[in-house]
């Protein structure tokens, strides 16, 4: 799919994944409906890379992560982990796979059992998977605590004695205990203080270098995603709308939704922040129980309005198509990517993001 990471083998393959939750009866139809949290997404995670999934809350990114962890069963579609189809694995095989795929959750205040000491929390995966003797586990725990930068005496304490950042370190130590191939991190730093986030991200990237980990990182913060990922998938209403190498996505977004997201990301330059033109999406995200026909984004798309409401947007769902012919890599699902490329909205957004307002007279005199 992507050019540079195409060489390394695929670790996780998600094919046409759908996760629908049964919902109550619709008020008008009276029929039992479904919340289509994830509605047909396809992507792969390559060994050694960090793939980011971004989107607004409710777009299905967490559901996707949970489906890969097999905490939920897909309604349709297939997830393969290292070639093994997760929908047909036996309990025994699933145990073996779970050893190789460990989660880090968003909120370290709720993801650690408050009644266990740190030692028992970190050792839990070892106990579940019957690894080592008690003494070996103890040694492994202190090794892990050291790896994630916690003092050795942390082992005997309970989670409530730690700060958010330290707790997330504990969660990371737990995820590392079995030396997994893949770590799925669902918003790993969004519950933490801003000052702590960089530390945790650095820790994650150090661990990746040291232990050849593969990451799937779920986030809504675009700046963070840019910092840590190799490729980024943008999700909207249960669909993947764009999946590109990180720098390509940030330098040359090809989906109107991606452009809108980038345009709403805060930028450090206060003057530019004050004068920039944001793309304001109208209305709310439609309900995933009754998604719009055609392109899911068409009801809020700024580009569609500009192009004079082409019928195709509401009639036909755009497929994820490669963007190689535009001299870029990755895939995008839009009927008019070239119109995105030519739009002044995109230009404005990118200029604001990079901070180099070439045409601005104030450039160079900014204090």
């Amino acid at each position: 799919m992507s050019a540079d990471k195409g060489k390394s083998p695929v670790l996780v393959m998600v094919e046409d994944l759908r996760v629908w939750f049964p919902a109550g009866k619709g008020p008008s139809t009276g029929r039992r409906g479904f919340i289509k949290a994830v509605d047909g997404i396809t992507f792969s995670v390559h060994r050694g890379e960090t793939l980011g999934l971004v989107g607004e809350s409710g777009c299905g990114k967490t559901t996707t992560a949970r489906a890969i962890l097999k905490l939920l069963d897909p309604t349709e579609g297939r997830i393969r982990f290292d070639g093994v189809d997760l929908s047909t694995v036996s309990r025994r095989e699933l145990r073996l796979i779970r050893r190789r795929m460990q989660p880090v959750f968003q909120d370290p205040f709720s993801s650690l059992n408050p009644k266990r000491t740190v030692e028992r929390i970190v050792a839990e995966p070892l106990v579940i998977h019957r690894q080592g003797t008690t003494a070996e586990r103890k040694a492994r725990v202190s090794e892990l605590l050291d790896t994630v930068g916690l003092p050795p005496d942390a082992a005997g304490r309970y989670p409530h004695a730690f700060s958010g950042g330290q707790r997330q370190r504990i969660a990371i130590a737990r995820a590392m205990a079995l030396q997994p191939d893949l770590i799925i991190a669902d918003e790993p730093v969004s519950a933490l203080d801003v000052s702590i986030r960089a530390q945790i991200l650095n820790l994650l990237s150090d661990l990746q270098d040291q232990f050849h980990l593969t990451y799937l990182v779920i986030a809504h913060d675009l700046a963070l995603v840019r910092q840590v990922t190799d490729r980024v998938g943008v999700m909207y209403l249960g669909k993947l709308v764009e999946l590109r190498p990180t720098e390509d996505l940030y330098r040359a977004p090809l989906h109107p939704y991606t452009v809108a997201l980038l345009s709403s990301a805060p930028i450090p330059d206060t003057q530019a922040e004050a004068t920039r033109q944001r793309i304001v999406l109208e209305g709310d995200v439609p309900s995933p129980a009754d998604p719009p026909t055609g392109c899911r984004f068409h009801t809020r798309c700024w580009l569609r309005q500009k192009l004079g409401d082409p019928d195709i947007c509401s009639a036909e769902a755009p497929a994820l198509a490669p963007v190689q012919d535009r001299g870029a890599s990755g895939v995008v699902a839009c009927h008019f990517p070239e119109a995105v490329e030519d739009s002044h909205e995109r230009r404005e957004t990118l200029v604001a993001l990079t901070g180099s307002r070439a045409s601005s007279p104030s450039e160079g005199t900014t204090p």
Binding site: L69, L71, R91, L94, R95, R98, R99, Q102, P103, F105, Q106, D107, S110, S111, L112, N113, P114, K115, T117, E124, P125, I128, H129, G156, R157, Y158, P159, H160, A161, A171, R174
Partner: protein
Amino acid sequence: MTVGRLRRLEEAIVPTRLGTTLESLRPRTFLETYGLVVILMIVAAVAAAPLVAPDPLAQDLTSALAGPSGEHWLGTDNLGRDLWSRILYGGRVSLVIGVFVLLTAGAVGVLYGAVSGYAGGMVDAVMMRIVDIFLSFPSIMLALLISAALGPTVRNVIIAISAAWWPVYARLVRGQVIVVKEREFVTASRALGAGPIRNLFRTVLPNSFGVMKTIFVLDVGYAILAGSTLGFLGLGVSPPTPEWGYMIREALQYPTHWWFILSPGLALLLFVSAINFAGGIVTRSVYEVPGR
């Protein structure tokens, strides 16, 4: 204020479980201290009964219904049996009933409720309707019926009261389990590879006991009361085994001999109220100590 907060924080990171527990279990108000002391005294007296009291079954009709004296500290009953002795031995019966009802009803109720809440769906619905059937009887009625059917022994009284009580625990535990099983560390444990049994018993249940602890302690008192109620109604432990409820029933026939009804009545009141007062300690320890 600040110093107090700091001290609390230090306590919060006390690494040993036992240390934290003991600290939190220290009585802090007068009533808690009183309750704890009374309980300890009663338990000690009841345990030492053979050493400090005569045979509770020895009849002496010549000194029947005698008032308190140097020989019979609390007087005697209608058959001339020593009331002090019968109170102490009766306390043994009450204590055994209280503790074993809690263990039996607790074990059954916790297991049932935990499975029901964790399984969810249809299993839960069916299991809870069965609980509803049990709860639709007044519990004392149910206990009476079962006790009458099984016969009047200590063991059967325990079974009868437990049968009437376990549904309350089942419901409580189920509610807690449903809340706790949605918490993220349970999901985390599942994602780490823990199976349902390990997850329920090692992760969910230990975090579902907070409210239960409080109720358990208070319920020891109510179980003793329930045992006495059965005795009072004539369907409890059979005579001549001394039992407070049955003693009160007998004493009702002799309203002019005040010491006869006063002793078991007061014993019951003292014991049950002391348990209630001391129950506050457990309640506090559950809600105050972080991580408990």
